[in-house]
């Protein structure tokens, strides 16, 4: 069944007349309206073999203020597209803008020419033109779609995709809700980028101060402060753009609008959580409710029960919760730098609320975030606040003695912080590289930033175990190292020291080649790295043959992440940081998989 625009609008009007929050709901699909009973077949979801989407301008209101959004079919987030594994889909995208647009189907395995990246997969969709995407649906799970043109994604051009499995869903649930997390600013994204170019700390309102030093609130000693200053690095540079300009949204609702999803006590509720933010990593929890993670990036994982998880930009997590009591629960998605939160409520009835916990303490970067983590081990409880664990600095074994950092601060530091010998020969160590990790740690088993010391269970990447066995269990035939590089002071970002605009060599794979790729983060910021057209297997050290599949992985500051990739999709694919401003500033490249036809030799 295909729902036309007209039908959908009339259904929306019906929903408004039916008592949903007037004024707001006009710009929200029904599943995203507050008081939603969840995803049901009778809700106006775009489904069937033909889907029509129109990109255009719309006003968007949040917190009593109205701004300019770029939307699909006039709603923010864009309509839910619900498909079934095994079907074919034709998606007609009409561009009602005066500029080019595009839609990338994030996480969907499609022929490269349907992947929606202008200049890589296709020429883009010109103003006032319509482009028809057509491809078979080969997978199931929670995905999303968004513009890959200019910075339109930061202005509302994103929406969820749910694909039902062809057979029985191994995940048992009684009700489901989609939660699209995002960050909305009334400042145009180009202006945001312009501010960052002129003043990289522009949005940071939590920098270290003299009063914070004296009162101890900064949690840093004078010596540590001196060392950070010596390096010209900001230990509070957690998020480039944050709550000082962003209103964090859940399904298009700000914290005050309080999107509410309904449940009946005792039901198993599947929450499909998508981080469609431009620049925001969230820590998600529901105080009073344990969450069982069942799916990550659209791929089923062995169930793991936790109390909080971090979701980086472009990741998706499905969790199942089972609220037993007749009470409301607050879902908190706190920005990683604690400058704000998105908030929603799960409740048996509309208009019920639960306590909203206050924002927690701002995290402070440590030596591990500067790539001096090494083998310091799993005990990071000491790392949270000013823990200066330098064991491993000497590139030696786990037993390396702690290094006197006072001695390092003088002279040696500059060299160690940016020693080209710590990078492969092909890396350009120039203006765009302000640091090279001297001893990057694999932090997949560590709690994410800011959650080191919280007194409850936190998801770590090594908890993820693919439910299905990995399809390709050949050992990798080649190792590849890619450095994530940047210059915070100039807001330059790139791979291996180069911005994409510098006309870089693509990252080349042979078709069906199996490669062990290690990403080394030479910056003090997290980078959610996304590879189009493929799922890679995170090398977590978990059960053999069940490495978790991801389309996007968050590479913690100063750390390294290893994944195994079977390059089985011929064509050209985008590979980039999903922090939109980092991508726009250069952290982007093209991955080629050749030959185009015929099996690899």
């Amino acid at each position: 069944m295909m729902t036309t625009n007209l039908d959908r609008r009339s259904i929306l009007r019906g929903a408004v007349a039916g008592g949903a929050v007037a004024g707001l709901s006009g710009l929200l699909p029904a599943w995203a309206q507050t008081g939603s009973a969840g995803l049901r077949a009778d809700l106006p979801t775009l489904t069937g073999p033909n889907v029509d989407l129109t990109v255009g301008h719309s006003p968007f209101t949040v917190g009593g203020r109205t701004g300019h959004a770029i939307t699909i079919n006039g709603v923010l987030p864009a309509p839910l597209i619900r498909l079934r594994e095994g079907q074919n889909v034709r998606l007609s995208v009409a561009n009602g803008l005066d500029e080019d647009t595009s839609i990338h189907w994030h996480g969907l395995l499609v022929p490269f020419q349907m992947d929606g990246v202008p200049g890589v997969s296709f020429p883009g969709i010109k103003a006032r033109e319509t482009f028809v995407y057509e491809f078979p649906i080969r997978q199931s799970g929670t995905f999303w779609y968004h513009s890959h043109s200019n910075l339109q994604e930061a202005m509302g051009h994103y929406g969820p995709i749910v694909i039902d499995p062809a057979g029985t869903d191994p995940i048992a649930y009684d009700r489901e809700h989609v939660l699209v997390l995002s960050d909305w600013s009334f400042m145009h994204p180009h202006e945001i980028l312009d501010k960052l170019k002129k003043s990289p700390g522009y949005f940071n309102r939590s920098r270290t101060t003299l009063s914070g030093l004296i009162s101890g609130e900064d949690g840093m000693s004078l010596e540590e402060r001196r060392m950070w200053g010596q390096m010209r690095m900001d230990p509070r540079d957690i998020a480039d753009v944050n709550g000082s300009t962003y209103t964090y949204l859940i399904n298009g609702h700000g914290p005050q609008e309080n999107w509410t999803g309904l449940f009946r006590p005792g039901e198993r509720v599947r929450l499909r959580i998508i981080n469609a933010s431009a620049m925001s990593i969230f820590n998600v929890r529901i105080p009073g409710l344990a969450m069982t993670v069942v799916n990550a990036d659209g791929e089923n994982v062995r169930p793991v029960e936790i109390d909080e998880f971090q979701i980086s930009v472009a990741e998706t997590y499905d969790v199942v919760v089972r609220p037993m009591n007749d009470r409301a629960y607050t879902l908190v998605a706190e920005s990683v730098d604690r400058s704000g939160m998105a908030r929603a409520t799960l409740a048996p009835r509309p208009d019920m609320t639960a306590e909203v916990p206050p924002l927690r303490e701002v995290p402070t970067l440590t030596m591990r975030d500067m790539g001096m983590g090494g083998m310091a081990g799993m005990d990071h409880s000491a790392m949270g606040h000013g823990g200066m664990d330098h064991s491993g600095m000497g590139h030696g074994g786990p037993a390396a003695a702690p290094v006197d950092h006072a001695a390092m601060g003088h002279g040696g530091m500059d060299h160690d912080m940016r020693n080209p010998d710590n990078a492969p020969a092909g890396m350009a160590v120039g203006v765009g590289v302000d640091m090279i990790s001297s001893d990057p740690a694999n932090r997949l088993g560590e709690r994410p930033m800011g959650l080191e010391d919280v007194p409850h269970r936190v998801l770590v990447y090594t908890d993820l175990v693919s439910l299905a066995p990995n399809k390709d269990q050949r050992p990798p035939s080649r190792a590849l190292e890619i450095h994530l590089t940047g210059n915070m002071e100039r807001f330059m970002w790139g791979f291996d020291g180069r911005k994409f605009s510098e006309i870089v060599e693509p990252i080349r794979f042979e078709r069906n080649e199996r490669v062990r790729v290690t990403l080394v983060n030479d910056t003090m910021m997290a980078h959610p790295i996304h590879l189009h057209g493929h799922f890679f297997e995170l090398v977590t050290g978990g059960p053999a043959g069940h490495q978790p599949l991801k389309h996007t992985v968050n590479v913690a500051p100063g750390s390294k992440v290893t994944f195994d990739l079977t390059a089985d999709a011929p064509g050209d694919w985008a590979f980039h940081c999903h922090m939109l401003m980092h991508m726009h500033a250069g952290m982007f490249n093209v991955v080629t998989v050749r030959p185009m036809d015929g099996a690899a030799s």
Partner: protein, 316 residues
């Protein structure tokens, strides 16, 4: 320690191999793992089936210093068309889109105007005003900079300078700048200079602007300015600032003696109403040195001043 996540593992009870994936790697000879997971695992010997022993530590260049080369590509990876999409959409269409893609992924241009100091000064009943403004336009590496600074009184007299510079980033924190400087002086001496400078961020967050000036008369002078932002709170910022000038020779027509000619030290306390807009109050001490001070005294001036200033720092 916080509780560990419990894993509801369908394979609980099975035996899990304690070898990390990397150990079955064909690069085993390359020492792909300097730490076998079992060594780091305090639970070695327990049933591992529900527990992850931590990710293998796959070595990188940092473990193999000296800029190691990456393994070569399989030849087939280099086969086929340079751009896969050309065969489907046409090279013409794709080439334009690729240009846009390149621009939109790294080629960010910006233009800034920086009013570092725009202030009124009070010195024993004498009032004056001063400006120090600059701006730039360009990308990350190459920029055009202009700078102007000077001072005047409220009788309409003013003197100062304007610089036009090509600026090139040479390291993460430093730009080299070259161009011309035109002075405007009350006494009609309006020398033009060639400028060679270094501007950037020194350790401990000191913003430094150092330049040498060669005038059309052949006189060589130099100036170094440095300022630092000490945040007292998120909005209240104390900014110490020093400036030192020197001359290679005596230049009587400009009132300069050889050696250090001028030193200035000030401190300004500003309040950022917005990050772009911050009024301030401050005090600045300045002194002319050596023969330069004598030239000033001979002209009936004071070589040393202490001024109270009120001003505005802004940028856009």
């Amino acid at each position: 320690m916080p509780a560990q996540p419990s894993t509801a593992d369908p394979h609980a009870g099975h035996d899990m191999p304690t070898t990390a994936p990397s150990q079955s790697d064909p690069h085993a000879g390359h020492d792909m793992s300097t730490m076998s997971p079992s060594q780091a695992d305090p639970h070695a010997g327990h049933d591992m089936s529900t527990m992850n022993m931590g990710p293998p530590d796959v070595p990188t260049s940092a473990d193999d210093e000296g800029r190691p080369r990456q393994p070569p590509l399989p030849p087939a990876a280099l086969s086929g068309p340079a751009h896969a999409a050309d065969a489907i959409w046409g090279a013409d269409q794709m080439s334009g889109a690729r240009d846009v893609l390149r621009r939109e992924n790294g080629d960010v241009r910006a233009t800034a105007v920086i009013v570092d100091r725009l202030e009124v000064g009070f010195d024993d009943g004498e009032e004056g005003w001063a400006w120090d403004v600059a701006g730039w336009t360009g990308g990350d590496i190459n920029r055009f900079w202009w700078k102007s600074e000077g001072e005047g009184d409220f009788d309409g007299e003013a003197e100062g300078e304007v610089q036009a510079l090509y600026s090139r980033a040479i390291s993460p924190f430093w730009d080299v700048q070259a161009g011309v400087r035109q002075d405007f002086r009350e006494n009609g001496e309006d020398p033009t200079h060639l400028v060679l400078g270094l501007q950037g961020l020194a350790p401990y967050w000191w913003e430094v602007d150092a330049a040498a000036f060669l005038s059309t008369e052949g006189d060589l002078t130099a100036r170094v300015e440095a300022e630092y932002d000490q945040r007292v709170t998120q909005r209240l910022i104390l900014q110490p600032r020093v400036e030192v000038e020197a001359s290679a020779s005596d230049v009587p027509e400009l009132g300069l003696g050889s050696g250090f000619t001028h030193v200035e030290a000030g401190v300004r306390l500003r309040y950022e109403i917005a990050k772009e807009f911050a009024p301030y109050v401050g005090v600045e001490w300045s002194r002319e040195l050596g023969d330069t001070a004598d030239f000033t005294r001979a002209a009936g001036g004071e070589p040393e001043h202490t001024r109270f200033v009120i001003g505005l720092k802004a940028w856009f």
